[in-house]
């Protein structure tokens, strides 16, 4: 049991209440809309896939055609169902018809469209459920994982090199493998197709790349006697589509933050907040653990000053996630070890913040990110900071430990950079195994006081956001001093007012399943 700070329960629940208000206001404001990406996700769940001659994904073609024909407000489901009811032999034939401008223009709603679509909705859901069950079966075969989970990234840009290095990392002890995306994939309004071998600072997230890596990790399961989790990024303009792809290919974790795209990629706030909801609905159903991206705040601003903003954002991410039906165990909240290592008593502040997060979110996994901004070309100093990071992680009972790289300031990880990080974390995790049981914090001491201060700060932030609402807060630069007006940013044109009779059959199913019960 990690050492306790004795934070005031009332303060914590007050923060939660404020965050819930924020989340509910967001839902009210976003419910009237759908987005091209949400509609494309429905198509993917129905089994639509592939690209045309110009490498444009079929789901994009269909939505573009329906949009041009003014038919998207009623939702792709109606038209897919109608195409099927009107004789399309299967999903791909229906998709082919609707992807043609004239096909989209001429299609008429069919009264029995729902019946026609139902089996395909069922098939999609079945595959998602089956993947979830498959994961549970595989995990049940092995002893519980050691915590914190060691999370390694691969980022060569070439899926085949990634596979090679992921296998090496898993064998060395990595428990989660994240394939970092090619830079700014979040800005693409489509998902690339097939196996890819040239990315920048990462590898494109494609369904085929997901499949290749999933297969490679499954192949190691018996040798290692454990299940290796696969992670990717479910944020940006294609947030829900990637959630769908992940659900279909049995990814286990998704970086899935409600605000990251808005703040760090200048994606339209309305678009993102609509998309995050469906993407999280899908993740909830798929039994995926999401990771939020609060660590990003600390990469542009001082980690000590930003601590309250990080905590406030965690509360908001938590309530938006619950609102979308995610269970607490699925809500991996992000934070980071980013305080200047030369700062007097900085380590005490890191400990205070990490312990506070643990105490405030007892039922959620905490995703602890490594030092990055203060790493330099001094790779030895970097390795040292990572050692203190691991120790803090273990001593405060963190759940998901992203391995820091001694070469963080220089390049995406080399084969042995990653091995050194895994060996370091494994060694310290064992060497300090029960440290969290054995230390207590001096009452009213520096650590306890710092934790209280951060919580109080977070409450102030939440209070402000609740008063003006999240959209207004984003517009006025409450987060990371970045102003993001409701109507500005990339992808606004992909936001569509829903027709009264617009349906999203998957949302209906998820609701029926009562995934939403958690709300």
């Amino acid at each position: 049991m990690p050492p306790r700070l004795g934070l005031q329960a009332e303060t914590i629940s007050r923060c939660r209440r404020l965050a819930r208000d924020v989340a509910e206001a967001v839902r009210r404001e976003t419910e009237p809309f759908t987005t091209v990406s949400t509609e494309r996700s429905i198509l993917r769940l129905l089994g639509v896939d592939g690209v045309d001659a110009d490498d444009v994904p079929v789901p994009n073609r269909i939505c573009d055609a329906l949009l041009a024909a003014g038919k998207l407000p009623r939702g792709v489901s109606l038209w897919m169902g109608s195409a099927l009811a009107r004789g399309a032999s299967d999903v791909s034939e229906a998709a082919l018809r609707l992807s043609r401008p004239e096909g989209a223009r001429d299609i008429e709603p069919h009264p029995r469209w729902r019946e026609a679509l139902a089996p395909h909705v069922g098939a999609g859901l079945a595959r998602v459920r089956e993947n979830r069950a498959e994961r549970e079966r595989r995990m049940a075969r092995h002893p519980p994982d050691e915590l914190p989970l060691l999370y390694a990234i691969v980022a060569t840009g070439n899926i085949h090199e990634d596979v090679l290095q992921a296998a090496a990392a898993a064998r060395a002890g990595a428990q989660c493998i994240a394939v970092i995306r090619s830079t700014a994939q979040s800005l693409l309004d489509h998902v690339p197709y097939g196996a890819t071998t040239s990315g920048f600072g990462g590898t494109f997230a494609t369904q085929e790349n997901f499949r290749l890596m999933r297969a490679a990790l499954d192949a190691l399961e018996d040798e290692l006697g454990r299940y290796v989790r696969l992670v990717n990024y479910c944020s940006g303009l294609c947030m829900p589509e990637i959630a769908a792809m992940g659900a279909l290919e049995r990814l286990d974790m998704m970086l899935n933050d409600a605000l990251y795209g808005i703040i760090f990629r200048d994606i339209n706030p309305l678009r993102t907040l609509i998309d995050q909801r469906f993407s999280r609905r899908i993740n909830a159903a798929a039994g995926v653990v999401i990771n939020t991206g609060e660590d990003n705040y600390l990469t542009t601003a001082d980690a000590v000053e930003q601590a309250p903003a990080v905590l406030a954002s965690q509360f908001i991410n938590e309530s938006l996630a619950k609102d979308a039906g995610l269970e607490p165990w699925q809500i991996g909240l992000g934070h980071a070890f980013e305080i200047d290592p030369t700062r007097e008593d900085g380590l005490l502040q890191e400990i205070a913040q990490a312990a506070a997060a643990r105490e405030i979110f007892p039922d959620s996994p905490l995703k602890y990110m490594p030092p990055t901004t203060h790493l330099t070309g001094n790779i030895f100093r970097g390795f040292q900071q990572n050692a203190l990071f691991v120790l803090t992680s273990v001593a405060t009972g963190q759940s998901i430990h992203l391995l820091g790289m001694l070469t963080e300031a220089l390049h995406t990880p080399l084969m042995h950079d990653r091995w050194l990080a895994i060996d370091q974390a494994k060694t310290i995790r064992a060497n300090a195994r029960h440290l969290s049981d054995e230390i207590l914090f001096a009452p009213e001491g520096r650590i306890v006081r710092r934790a209280r201060e951060v919580l109080a700060g977070a409450e102030r932030v939440l209070d402000g956001v609740a008063r003006i609402g999240l959209f207004e807060a984003l517009a006025s630069g409450v987060f990371a001093d970045t102003r993001r007006p409701r109507e500005a940013g990339r992808g606004r044109d992909g936001v569509i007012a829903r027709d009264p009779d617009h349906v999203n059959p998957f949302l209906e199913e998820f609701a029926r399943e009562g995934a939403g019960a958690a709300r």
């Binding site: 090496a168 700014a184 920048f200």
Partner: protein, 257 residues
């Protein structure tokens, strides 16, 4: 006898004795760990001209890969006197001096644009140069009275930069490049130069690149007037812009050396 001191004409690494040439080298070979692999590592290092290579670590990090840490003596020598370190040539001036000089030489404010290109979302570097706060105690360009400093931020398309440069009749464009994997920075930096030339703007504008992996030599190669690396302070950049802009004023039309 006192410890022998260095001959600047024949510089070598210092381990714990003058000119012992001790260096540490680490790398991974795609070979399963074995005496053979260790010998391969020794030969690999010997091929670099390292004497007495000693393999301190041969760690199997994957079935077919071994990580090595090797120590040895690099007998190579460098003539430190002969080195002409490629450095940005511009006198170090204070913010006030620079503002004064601009007023004096141009009688107007110089227009300076800043950005990171295309997919590169790293803005901290360019912000460090532009934001009033600046970097390590040195104020940013936006604080200069006689600079009209406009930070366009990150992920700016090349066309946009060129358009604004034309519209604003920019005197200088400062580009930050952080993501360098697979040479993507070279691609974007070159695109900008090409487009500026195509538009006939290149000669009128002082073009500067910067970033953790950028140095003066590389920037020159790519057709920039200067390159600045880690730890750059805004005033050094401002001083260079002043320098270059003045030259351009004297010899309008043709690019200075």
């Amino acid at each position: 006898m006192t410890a022998r001191s260095a001959d600047p004409g024949r510089v070598r690494a210092y381990g714990d004795k003058w000119n012992d040439g001790v260096v540490q080298i680490s790398f991974t070979l795609p070979l399963a760990s074995s005496a053979r692999a260790t010998e391969a590592a020794r030969q690999y290092v010997a091929a670099m001209g390292i004497r007495e290579p000693y393999v301190a670590l041969a760690e199997p990090i994957a079935p077919e890969f071994t990580f090595f840490v090797v120590y040895g003596r690099a007998a190579h020598e460098v003539d430190a006197r002969a080195i002409a370190a490629e450095e940005v040539e511009a006198a170090a001036l204070s913010r006030d001096e620079i503002d004064a000089e601009i007023a004096l030489r141009f009688g107007r404010r110089l227009v300076v644009l800043g950005c990171a290109l295309e997919s590169d979302a790293h803005s901290v570097g360019i912000d460090a140069i532009f934001n009033p706060k600046g970097f390590s105690g040195d104020y940013g360009l936006e604080r200069y009275a006689n600079l009209d400093a406009r930070n366009l931020g990150a992920q700016v398309p090349v066309e946009t930069v060129v358009r604004i440069a034309r519209e604003a009749a920019a005197d200088a464009v400062l580009v930050s490049a952080t993501v360098t994997q697979n040479e993507i920075h070279v691609r974007h930096l070159t695109d900008l130069v090409d487009m500026l030339e195509a538009e006939g703007l290149r000669d009128r504008i002082t073009l500067v690149a910067g970033g953790p992996r950028i140095d003066h030599r590389l920037a020159k190669e790519l057709g920039y007037d200067a390159g600045f690396g880690p730890g750059t302070t805004p005033s050094r950049v401002a001083a260079f812009v002043l320098e270059q802009a003045s030259r351009r004023m004297q010899a309008p039309g043709d690019a200075p050396a």
